[in-house]
């Protein structure tokens, strides 16, 4: 015990954190604890688990050892004190905001945001009487202008979907902390391999683990990771600092300190929402995290190669990859994403809505599909799918042009990806598609 505890590197922790060889069987892979309930040792233990006096398994709607291994691994990689997994990224997001916000509170949110998150926030706002203030995250004064005395949360994506806007995390965190609010960052597109927002001052990270964490497009999942650094007893978060009516008068922050919010999120919010991650899905996510670093290096290299190739092609109006030399986000990429800016980006076709349709139809290797962060390369044309009901004017207002195409670059050979894109570009221009 005289040896100094070692600080292990990211790759080692990706493979080992959260999991130990099973003490009972010696199993090397994490066992899938496919069970709804857990048998109590005795009545004293049972009540200690329910009272949160002892860490114990009660029911898989609240905790499960396979899910716990995934939660610990993700928390470890993000540099948080812990995590709570949910059935999807949107469930994690809804759960966190439900735990943090009260009717009348306001939340400042970057306008450049995944459409599903925008829709969810508008819905939550209406049902829970939350005010949403939309922020231009590219404007250095945007956050400061948006916050009010009622602002309880600031929220943005590390790399925005689909625009590729990069968040100045330090700036947003500074504004958040000036008003006594936590900064919540959706780190889905960067993953903890490319950026760890908690190290730059963010208080909470959320993930759609469906994407690069699962890695193979097999699993819908989400998680909340807490830095443990936010002071929930600053007078603005009574639901975390004051006695909880939903948990027999417990004061979560006072009793559990840096673990208070996560305890509340698990034992109240997840318990009541029921949007729990399945043990088998957690197993797939553990496998995904084991290869995260090697996959992300290839994703990053392939995406940059495709972006650079696209930039020189006839029929391509603009390529919005934040790591390109002439991107307005290049400085922020250098600071926050030195190992790469992920593999999801968009570009505009000159040929508009109709050209976009012809482009997609001519592709044979890329999958036309509404997901990102898969080993397979994926493509979508928002104007003819997710944003189909909008006019060109409404499209422009949402940051999407009629000819915008979003790519999620996978792990295939770049030459093959470019070969297929070339066929799509020919079709978009109305010229003959090469064989």
């Amino acid at each position: 015990m005289d040896e100094e505890p070692r600080e292990f590197g990211f790759n080692t922790r990706s493979v080992h954190a959260g999991q130990r060889p099973d003490p009972y069987t010696g199993a090397s892979a994490t066992p899938i604890y496919q069970t709804a309930g857990f048998v109590f040792e005795d009545t004293e233990s049972a009540s200690a688990y329910f009272n949160l006096q002892e860490y114990g398994n009660v029911y898989s709607r609240i905790m499960n050892p396979t899910v716990g291994a995934f939660e610990e691994r993700l928390a470890n990689l993000e540099g948080g004190v812990g995590a709570v997994a949910f059935a999807s990224g949107l469930a994690a997001q809804a759960g966190l905001f439900f735990a943090l916000l009260e009717p009348g509170d306001r939340i400042a949110v970057a306008k450049a945001l995944y459409g599903g998150s925008t829709a969810q926030l508008n819905h939550l706002a209406r049902k829970l009487q939350i005010g949403v203030d939309w922020v231009d995250m590219d404007d250095p004064d945007g956050w400061r202008r948006a916050v009010t005395a009622d602002t309880k949360v600031l929220f943005a994506e590390t790399i925005a979907n689909p625009g590729g806007n990069v968040l100045d995390i330090g700036l947003a965190a500074a504004v958040a902390h000036e008003v006594g609010a936590p900064l919540v960052v959706d780190n889905t597109f960067a993953t903890p391999y490319l950026c760890r927002p908690l190290e730059w001052g963010a208080d909470l990270v959320i993930h759609s683990a469906t994407k690069f964490i699962a890695g193979n497009g097999t699993t819908i999942a989400g998680a909340v990771v807490d830095s443990g650094m936010f002071d929930w007893s600053n007078g603005r978060f009574p639901s975390i600092a004051e006695p909880s009516s939903a948990y027999h008068g417990l004061r979560f922050h006072e009793t559990f300190g840096v673990y208070g919010l996560l305890m509340k999120l698990r034992s109240e919010t997840l318990r009541d929402f029921g949007a729990v991650l399945a043990p088998f899905n957690a197993f797939l996510l553990l496998l995904g995290l084991e290869s995260l670093a090697v996959r992300m290096d290839r994703h990053v290299a392939n995406a940059l190669a495709v972006a650079e190739w696209l930039r020189g092609q006839a029929g391509v109006e603009a390529v919005r990859h934040p790591a390109l030399a002439d991107s307005p986000y290049r400085g922020l990429v250098d600071r926050y994403l030195p190992a790469g800016a992920g593999s999801v980006f968009s570009f505009d076709l000159e040929s508009g809505r109709e050209g976009g349709r012809r482009f997609i139809e001519a592709l044979s290797l890329w999958s036309h599909l509404a997901n990102v962060g898969d080993t397979k390369s994926l493509v979508i044309h928002p104007a003819s799918t997710t944003h189909r009901q909008l006019s060109d004017e409404e499209l422009a207002a949402s940051g999407v042009a009629s000819g915008t195409v979003r790519l999620s670059v996978g792990l295939e050979d770049v030459d093959d990806l470019v070969w297929d894109l070339e066929r799509g570009l020919c079709a978009s221009r109305g010229s003959a598609v090469p064989a």
């Binding site: 080992h16 954190a17 949160l52 716990g68 027999h248 009793t255």
Partner: protein, 164 residues
């Protein structure tokens, strides 16, 4: 600027992982100063947990007689047995006096819980030959090393590929 996530500034000296490990593994008798009889207070959670895991808990609190089935002493100086760890749940202003008492009774370590931050108290205990841990939870550190905290998705920092 990158934020250091290792605790409050200047506190790393009193959050040494090796020292924490040694205290958790070696201690048997823990005097909890400010142990509350209320089952909803953090001190009661910690005392209950430590008892469950085989530690002898000695409550110190002038306002109680019996807590967690144990005789309560009004002050550390009244405890008639050797104390391995003095675990403090009190206002930081009370810590220097508690530290002096911990030195006087010959305790091995002074452990200040989350938010109990007193550089003067830490200095007094350290000069008196005690190991000092500050702004950390004894229950959490035990649960990370030996317990089941990982079942609830908390990071324990344990990295191991060998069978234990």
């Amino acid at each position: 600027m990158r934020v250091t996530r290792l605790g409050r500034p200047g506190m790393n000296e009193f959050q040494d992982r090796r020292a924490i490990q040694e205290i958790v593994l070696k201690a048997r008798t823990v005097a909890i100063v400010g142990l509350s009889a209320s089952e909803l207070r953090a001190s009661n959670f910690v005392g209950y947990y430590l008892q469950r895991h085989g530690y002898r808990v000695v409550p110190v609190n002038p306002n109680e007689e019996h807590v967690l089935g144990e005789q309560v002493y009004p002050s550390l100086r009244d405890v008639p047995e050797h104390i391995d760890v003095v675990d403090v749940f009190r206002d930081p202003a009370a810590v220097p006096e508690i530290a002096r008492a911990a030195v006087a009774v010959g305790a091995d370590a002074l452990w200040l819980q989350f938010g109990v931050v007193s550089s003067e108290g830490a200095r007094i205990a350290q000069e008196g030959g005690l190991e000092v841990v500050m702004d950390r939870c004894l229950k959490v550190e035990h649960a990370k090393l030996l317990g089941r905290m990982h079942w609830l998705g908390f990071d324990t920092g344990v990295i191991a590929g060998a069978r234990s």
